[in-house]
């Protein structure tokens, strides 16, 4: 199978390319990138005039829910949602049931993904057994089984000694430790950001300090151990500032934020909108400003979806009882592109945060449109306007706060290993 993508604007931050080029795909690799490639007889020609062609997008923070919570999402539906959102590679968090804290679960996810997944799935293993925060999981064995990082995402590792040893031990395997920074004592019982909105709604708040203090702690532990620390879903101004300072001091720390932390504030919760219940919680205008500043100056390296599907009966209930999390794979790209229109990011920087930056963090041979590389390619129509309609989403769950939002920009073709897995052209 050959594909020839013509007439497009190719943006490949890894290779410093922003040019009008053609791309020839042969089998599962990129054969050639050049101007005016001649069509050969058997190649399927894709006219990408007016479109942007980028390396396949990478989401390093997805919850696929399989095994254990297949009623929320499966590897099949989750990867379909990813493809529709332009993602060719997603990394799935270990908080399944059972938790991905050993080789058996990792192998299950990989074999199921090979059979049913339509994009690349890379598992993230747990730091501790059962993500209980007490004993280290078999990190080395999970690494050799295919895990690309470790994390106890969904909860923080409260015991600083356990976190310290987790960071230290993982150095041998050259994978990052992804920290969910939350002090469980400070956040206990909280349902949204602590601030004016929580005061008026009578909901128990989660102070920003619950995140800020753990970010500072984990930076200190990274400095102590020299381990590679990646901070997940940064939501507060304080976190951004601490990470900025740490980077200046040369500590090996990177971080991600999610589209909802620069698109929404705590006000989205007003009216007890459970689709806006997420952890960490949506913060304030000042935090949104700080997140954008962090994205702009490079403090925040990566944008990840934190796609967290939940079923109707877990969301259309009392706010206190509703589950934390929102789906994001199908809405991330247009929200990221809106940062470009706002002037927060250049198109090149925006694409880098969802291609080469995550690829470098996880040492993947992906995220670039180099000749000979895997043919993971996303074609984006930056002008396409569409409205978020939950009935049209591929994800099995519909818990998005962006319902009815008018979006601009959409992946119109997603190519994984030379195969077209999503097409809207």
């Amino acid at each position: 199978m050959k594909l020839l993508i013509k007439n497009s604007r190719v943006i490949d931050p890894a290779n410093n390319i922003d040019d009008s080029l053609d791309i020839l795909v042969e089998g599962n690799i990129i054969k050639k990138i050049a101007k005016g490639i001649k069509a050969e007889g058997t190649a399927k020609i894709i006219d990408a005039k007016g479109k942007i062609v980028t390396p396949g997008l990478i989401d390093i923070h997805t919850h696929l829910r399989e095994p254990g919570f297949e009623y929320k999402e499966t590897i099949k539906t989750g990867t379909m949602a990813a493809a529709a959102g332009g993602f060719t590679t997603i990394c799935c968090m270990p908080n399944t049931n059972p938790v991905n804290d050993n080789r058996v679960v990792t192998e299950f996810i990989l074999s199921k993904s090979a059979k049913e997944g339509i994009v690349n799935v890379l598992p993230i293993g747990a730091i501790t057994k059962g993500s209980q925060g007490k004993e280290l999981a078999e990190i080395g064995d999970m690494r050799s089984a295919g895990c690309v990082a470790i994390s106890d995402d969904g909860r923080g590792v409260m015991d600083a000694e356990v976190m310290r040893r987790g960071l230290e031990y993982t150095k041998a395997f050259d994978i990052p430790v992804i920290a969910h920074c939350e002090d469980a004592n400070l956040s206990s019982g909280g349902a949204m950001n602590e601030g004016f909105a929580s005061t008026t709604l009578g909901l128990r708040g989660i102070p920003k300090a619950a995140e800020d203090v753990m970010v500072v702690r984990d930076i200190a532990l990274s400095e102590l151990t020299g381990a590679k620390l990646h901070i997940a879903h940064v939501s507060s101004a304080g976190s951004v500032e601490s990470i900025r300072t740490a980077k200046k001091r040369g500590i090996k720390v990177s971080c991600e934020t999610c589209p909802h932390y620069f698109s929404l504030t705590e006000d989205a919760v007003i009216g007890y909108n459970t689709n806006a219940k997420v952890n960490p919680p949506l913060r304030t205008k000042e935090d949104v400003r700080a997140i954008k500043e962090g994205l702009k100056d490079g403090t925040i390296d990566i944008i990840a979806s934190d796609h967290a599907p939940h079923a109707v009966h877990e969301k259309e209930i009392e706010f206190d009882y509703a589950s934390f999390g929102m789906i994001g794979l199908e809405t991330s790209l247009p929200l990221i592109l809106s940062l470009v229109r706002e002037g927060v990011l250049t198109l090149n920087d925006a694409i880098a945060k969802i291609t080469i930056n995550p690829a470098r963090l996880l040492k993947l041979k992906k995220g670039a449109l180099s000749e000979g590389a895997d043919a993971d390619i996303t074609i984006i129509d930056p002008e396409k306007e569409w409205v978020v309609d939950v009935n049209n989403l591929k994800s099995k769950s519909k818990n998005t706060p962006f319902v009815e939002w008018k979006m601009k920009g959409k992946a119109v073709m997603t190519i994984v290993g030379g195969s077209i897995v999503y097409e809207l052209l």
């Binding site: 602590e194 601030g195 004016f196 709604l201 009578g202 007890y272 009966h313 259309e316 009392e318 206190d320």
Partner: protein, 306 residues
């Protein structure tokens, strides 16, 4: 119809709405003072009290109000319902509505629970207290009582004392009283004052004597005894030393100040027992007025002519 379909919060009402409810309650108070305390206003209507949290006072008050309006009343308490079988709130309510309830009165420990019903049902929904959010009929009966005693609300200085963070009574009263032109102060330990409460128009005091100085009205809130020994305050003894209203302390308020409490009172914790029979204390009058106010609310929501 003067009111919307539901009464969920004071926040969404304006001063005219509040005045209308209080004025209407005035005429129903006259009814509750008669020998035959019943009018046919809601004859043939069904009122369901759906209580997910234990309550004697509020549930009884709603029940009496509905009965005095000649409605049929059904009480559902959480322990006897199918909630224990894991039915969702909306499913439970849909079943009740399918039996043609006209008004559903809900009390729930989770803030926002009445909104789920209001959105999903055609029946009128009355919030009888949702978590730490609002308790609109309590604030309305408090405002009714204040106006009855003081002749006005505007311009009064009203102090609300105690656990503001966890109090739906405090929130509803802050909204209502400020809309009616009163000056509102909140007083309590800093651990029990929620962030940015000043933005609702309340002045914050941590010291009781300073906070009630020259106040016309003092609303004492119930202390949830289970909160002691955690991180909010050391113990009941220390709390009462700081915040229990005594006859001596009451002197710093205006001479004719009244003392209110949504009940049930922990005597000796929030209010010294020496004040239980004092003329300043209007707690039982609040209870009497509660029935009239709830009659007014049900009447106005039903949109019927009496």
């Amino acid at each position: 119809m003067p009111l919307k379909k539901d009464l969920l919060e004071i926040q969404e009402l304006n001063s005219d709405d509040i005045r209308l409810i209080i004025d209407t309650a005035d005429s129903f108070k006259e009814v509750t003072g008669r020998d035959i305390k019943k009018v046919p206003t809601l004859r043939g209507k069904t009122v369901v009290n759906l209580f997910y949290e234990p309550s004697t006072r509020t549930r009884t008050s709603f029940e009496l109000a509905a009965k005095r309006l000649s409605a049929d009343v059904l009480n559902i308490a959480v322990s006897t319902s199918s909630v224990v079988k894991g039915e969702t709130l909306l499913d439970t309510a849909r079943n009740i509505e399918a039996m043609r309830a006209d008004i559903i009165v809900i009390r729930h420990s989770a803030a926002g629970a009445p909104y789920i019903l209001a959105k999903g049902l055609k029946s009128s929904v009355i919030n009888a207290g949702d978590g730490c959010h609002e308790h609109p009929t309590q604030a309305l009966l408090d405002m009714f009582t204040i106006r009855e005693k003081k002749g006005r609300i505007e311009g009064l200085t009203i102090a609300i004392v105690g656990d503001i963070t966890h109090s739906r009574v405090a929130r509803s009263n802050i909204y209502g009283l400020t809309k009616m032109g009163a000056k509102v102060r909140v007083i309590g330990p800093a651990t029990l004052i929620p962030l940015e409460i000043e933005r609702l128009g309340a002045e914050v005091y941590y010291n009781l004597d300073e906070g009630i100085k020259d106040a016309d009205v003092i609303i004492m809130l119930r202390v949830q005894l289970e909160r002691q020994g955690k991180t909010y305050f050391p113990d009941i003894r220390e709390y009462s030393m700081q915040y229990c209203l005594t006859r001596e302390r009451l002197k710093s308020a205006k001479d004719d100040a009244i003392v209110m409490h949504p009940g049930p009172v922990n005597w000796g914790v929030e209010i010294s027992p020496e004040l239980s029979e004092d003329k300043s204390t209007v707690i039982l009058e609040q209870v009497t007025n509660g029935v009239a106010v709830r009659m007014a609310v049900m009447y106005l929501l039903s949109g019927e002519k009496s």
